[in-house]
């Protein structure tokens, strides 16, 4: 799609499932959880109940692993009618600790793209979730050196982005956001007249799934790997000699 990116000065990156794998670990943990609870319910019912409870608890717990685990414990107690064994509760807590300790697995081309773009743009990270967990992942990722600013926000709605751009003194027309979630990384930006590029990840949490209207859809590009952002911005990988 022909969209003009010549005004862009600052590029914001989502982190989870844009720079590194994240959702996969949640799906794996849910699979483990449905195995732990298999005596009480079907995997499908367990998934549904856990999802519902997460959404109910979101205003109180926010995004992130700790709230996810607390919701799991609640559902374990309820689906078992308060007959779940203590060993299962302990296993759920350990699922959470294992998630928090996971290594950071960068997605394809991330380091090269950041390295290339950081020469012509100011790069920032805009991520939601748990502050400590996100800081730890950025640290582990080795990517901190490419970013001028890291912002961990409690949610990614239009107002969160407007406040951030205002605070960092960035005009919406100069800002491009790149991320995997239409709901959190793309549509709010289109609505505040900034730009966005969508890089879907193979797994999206149901809570993040939306269908954009056709006019909205004409205002952003969708790519299948972060590497495709370079030709769209007329940049070449600095490490390659020839055409991309």
């Amino acid at each position: 799609m022909e969209i003009d990116y010549t005004n862009i000065k600052v590029i914001g990156f989502d982190a989870d499932d844009t720079l590194w794998v994240n959702e996969t670990y949640f799906r794996d943990a849910e699979l483990e959880f449905s195995k732990l609870m298999a005596a009480y319910e079907t995997a499908n019912k367990i998934d549904q109940e856990l999802f519902k409870r997460q959404i109910e608890n979101l205003p109180l717990y926010g995004y992130g692993i700790k709230g996810f685990i607390l919701s799991m414990v609640e559902i374990a107690l309820e689906l078992s009618n308060n007959s779940i064994g203590n060993e299962t509760i302990a296993a759920i807590l350990n699922l959470g600790k294992a998630m928090l300790n996971k290594p950071v697995e960068l997605l394809d081309g991330v380091e090269e793209v950041l390295k290339t773009l950081s020469q012509d743009y100011r790069l920032i990270v805009v991520t939601k979730g748990d502050l400590l967990d996100q800081e730890r992942k950025l640290e582990k990722s080795g990517l901190l050196k490419y970013f001028h600013h890291i912002e961990v926000v409690s949610d990614k709605q239009e107002a969160n982005y407007s406040n951030l751009l205002n605070h960092l003194d960035i005009k919406p027309s100069e800002f491009l956001m790149i991320g995997n979630s239409l709901k959190s990384d793309i549509l709010p930006l289109i609505n505040i007249k900034a730009q966005a590029i969508h890089v879907p990840f193979h797994t999206t949490w149901i809570h993040e799934q939306v269908v954009p209207s056709k006019p909205e859809h004409q205002k952003f590009n969708t790519i299948h790997s972060l590497l495709e952002v370079l030709p769209i911005l007329n940049k070449r990988l600095k490490t390659q000699k020839n055409d991309l």
Copy 2:
């Protein structure tokens, strides 16, 4: 103590137990927890084990209520040798939700002091803990209008403060931090050549307790109510007509 504050342009406030009550709610929850566990151990032993586990989990969970509750569940399983009832686990989860839902109870004089100081200084909040929970408390407090910037940090060590001042373009010599924790709000600031005023709260978490050396102690003032910060800075309450 005669300390010169004439260079100060920006004042940072800690939030929990400086602007509003916080530690009291943790102590109340611990008391409830020791009652729930009374069949297994003495209150003293329960307190000690919970404290140790919180510190062990701190690198993984960080500060805040969700990590506190997850540590409580772990200790309940362990002190009971995996024989704790599901109702008790549910009661622990509810303790956490009740804490997250607590109203914000401002400490004495907070609103008047912020109102007065905001006329002559840029005021910011520097708080550690859970991002969403701190944002919610600030929102509920009605104090947001007095602050130019809110920073939720994952820890309050010298480097965290240096990075923040750097990012906000504030010289250490122009920055005064006010807070209840010697370890988190006072000593790191003295060490980076900024200023600090200590307002102890009646309860301090053991993890925050330190004894400053004598030379350190001569570099900051200690006051007993936030209102005393005004005469120290040669300000008068705008709402009062006469002397303070």
